[in-house]
Assembly symmetry: C2
Homo-oligomer: 421 residues x 2
């Protein structure tokens, strides 16, 4: 996280800022309400006129005009006068209270409208005062906040027709593997279609980045080196999938070395995804994720997400952590921290989590059901149905680091085991 940098700032229109991250504080550019206004339909009066009003001694006021919301009274109200006023309209000068519509009786006297009031009204009664909700200059939303519909309402209210947000980093995705076919190719013996690039692209777009998918490459050092070097010219972050530990063909760390990139770590004590390599090179990021779909998925959420979001100044750039009750046994021991793809049901009576599919790391189908990862600390034996387990999700607000809850800490957790190549 010490290597993160900001992705820059740009202005976008209020109609195109959904889910973007604010790069400026939003300030109230005027008081709310911007003027004293009526919270009800009624009549604006001088409260002193009603001082002696009662059931037996009603007082009568002349209605000099009617104003709707958005209209401004022409008359200054004097003693004996009332103005019919709608919800939200500005209190006329001279008036200091509003009496609700249903508390008066309307009368016509000499062809002119009057109202009869049978109770006294206090000064300031039924007036929403200028600034009582929000005062001009108040910081309403801080930079680093994701724009929600409620924040869009703030932008509109205060006249921000454009807003300053963090740029989306450009994330390149380059899959390697001689076995790969493109999505529109027919299946061939020994080959499989490249699913990692498209999956990872969807993950990264959901994190708020812009994606470029590059043509996948064979496991060949020279062509891979060339592709990576070229792709880095036009990306802030380059994710490769595969090529980190493919038997004899373990190119990625070598490519990073040849580039002159600083490898931050090259193996992680976790399953799946132990062969994850992360490096930085001239303010760009290189993520060498496994070609195994599960490991690739987990690597993107655990390692790529916080780098993208921290670069937008988000306070909680990591995946959200929660806990849930395990709905069935998970008998495997966990020599290393294990992330199990699972289905979290946030039921009204509590969270329940179920391991998805077969938990074979090659199983693409379990990715359909999975909406979270169960995080089982390394050094633990199997877990029984009914146990409380820590869960990591990529929905909703994130979390801060480290995950210091006991459910995650009974272990060395995600510990870098090998810093050097």
């Amino acid at each position: 996280m010490n290597h993160t940098r900001f992705w820059g700032i740009e202005d976008v229109s209020i109609t195109e800022c959904d889910h973007r991250i604010l790069a400026e504080n939003l300030t109230a550019t005027h008081d709310v309400p911007p003027f004293n206004r009526s919270p009800y339909d009624g009549f604006a009066i001088r409260s002193s006129d009603s001082k002696h009003a009662s059931m037996n001694h009603p007082i009568t006021l002349k209605v000099v005009e009617t104003i709707g919301a958005g209209q401004v009274a022409e008359h200054e109200i004097e003693s004996g006068m009332a103005v019919r006023i709608m919800t939200g309209a500005k209190i006329p000068d001279g008036a200091d209270a509003v009496i609700m519509l249903e508390l008066v009786k309307e009368l016509i006297i000499d062809g002119e409208t009057h109202i009869q009031i049978k109770r006294s009204v206090k000064k300031d009664e039924n007036i929403s005062f200028q600034g009582e909700d929000t005062q001009e200059g108040t910081v309403l939303v801080k930079a680093g906040t994701k724009i929600t519909p409620g924040i869009v309402a703030i932008l509109a209210t205060f006249g921000y027709h454009t807003v300053s947000v963090y740029k989306r980093p450009v994330v390149g995705i380059l899959s390697t593997g001689t076995e790969l076919l493109d999505v529109n190719e027919d299946l061939q013996p020994g080959k499989i279609r490249n699913s990692n690039a498209y999956m990872c692209a969807a993950q990264v777009r959901a994190m708020g980045a812009e994606v470029r998918i590059y043509q996948h490459r064979e496991d060949n050092f020279d062509s891979l080196y060339k592709s990576i070097k070229e792709s880095l010219q036009e990306t802030d972050v380059l994710i490769t999938t595969g090529g980190v530990s493919v038997g004899d063909y373990d190119f990625l760390p070598e490519v990073y070395k040849k580039l002159g990139a600083e490898v931050l770590f090259n193996k992680v004590a976790m399953r799946p995804g132990s062969v994850t390599t992360v490096a930085v090179f001239e303010e760009k990021w290189l993520f060498g994720l496994s070609g195994n779909p599960s490991a690739c998925f987990v690597g993107a959420e655990l390692f790529v997400r916080p780098v993208i979001l921290k670069g937008m100044n988000m306070l909680k750039p990591h995946c959200r952590v929660t806990k849930a009750t395990l709905s069935r046994d998970f008998p495997k021991p966990n020599p290393f921290t294990r992330f199990v793809r699972a289905t979290l049901s946030e039921e009204i009576d509590g969270n329940v989590v179920k391991p998805a599919g077969l938990d074979k790391s090659s199983s693409v189908s379990s990715l359909v059901e999975a909406n979270c990862l169960i995080a089982l600390p390394g050094g633990t034996r199997g877990w029984e149905k009914g146990s409380e387990v820590g869960v990591i999700t990529w929905h909703g607000e994130g979390s801060e680091w480290p995950w210091d809850h006991p459910l995650f800490s009974k272990s060395s957790a995600i510990k870098t085991v090998e810093k050097q190549l």
Copy 2:
């Protein structure tokens, strides 16, 4: 919900289908794995060759070729032969087991590579069999499911470079109110900027619809009728904000009547948003939401959301319900079901909810903090800190109707009180 209709179907590219709703079942177009493959780096052999191998009596096999992932062996393996094989590569014909790399010793005999094996290997050992994860023809994802990155992986794996999804309905938003200014106008006495249209647009986009914001209108029957009639020509759903109960200027129900629309309900026993009018007209929907920002927000989530999502065949088109512990007193009695804007913290040790801002229905600023609504059933008195309350959120998977949990049912709940105009 009986009036909902489907919005139609269209094909989109795999790179542009994020968050769309599947209009077709996704089927495995081939087995997974598509061929028998090796889960490890090792040597493919005939298991019978190893039958008598032991520490004291190792057997030796000749390595006839090396295949990486994506390569296919040229040789059919015969007795005495082995093929070096990488993770994911196809098992050569003739071989019926794989022995892991670390369990053999490589030797050069007469200039040719051999391996020595010191244990017996069972038939089928270390083979991932064709179809063992998923068989061709299996329905993997059902229509009505929202496309996630995991589902994108499925699309890519099975060659869906385009996918059939439900169309986004076109939702028009038309604000009414003589007091309204546009977002780029300077403030004027008695007027406020139109925040509802932009807020509501962001809400509706988040539901997956396409939005058209129309120029806001004054509270004038004829111009409003004309605008609504014209807008309906090019929208599937038309939301108006304001004009439902603005003192003397209560136009919307009258406009709907003149159009010949069927008004489904015109008032709802809830706060805020009691003056919500919903009508249908020639397979189009009309939502007359309050001009009050809070009521408008609540109305869009409670009434517009399920219509949009049901039209995409989603199984759980309503807002998600959960429960949480109230973090402070809420002393107001609730003659009607009340929806209180609030901040839900999904902490690892449970959900905590705090009413946001002042809970004045005019308060725009509390919309910033709010990420949920506390639902307090009608007919209840105030609620104390520490109480368990029902919460409605618009994040994540939705819920089915009705919300029959006791936290929501202690009342007439959201009951239509007036069906006729």
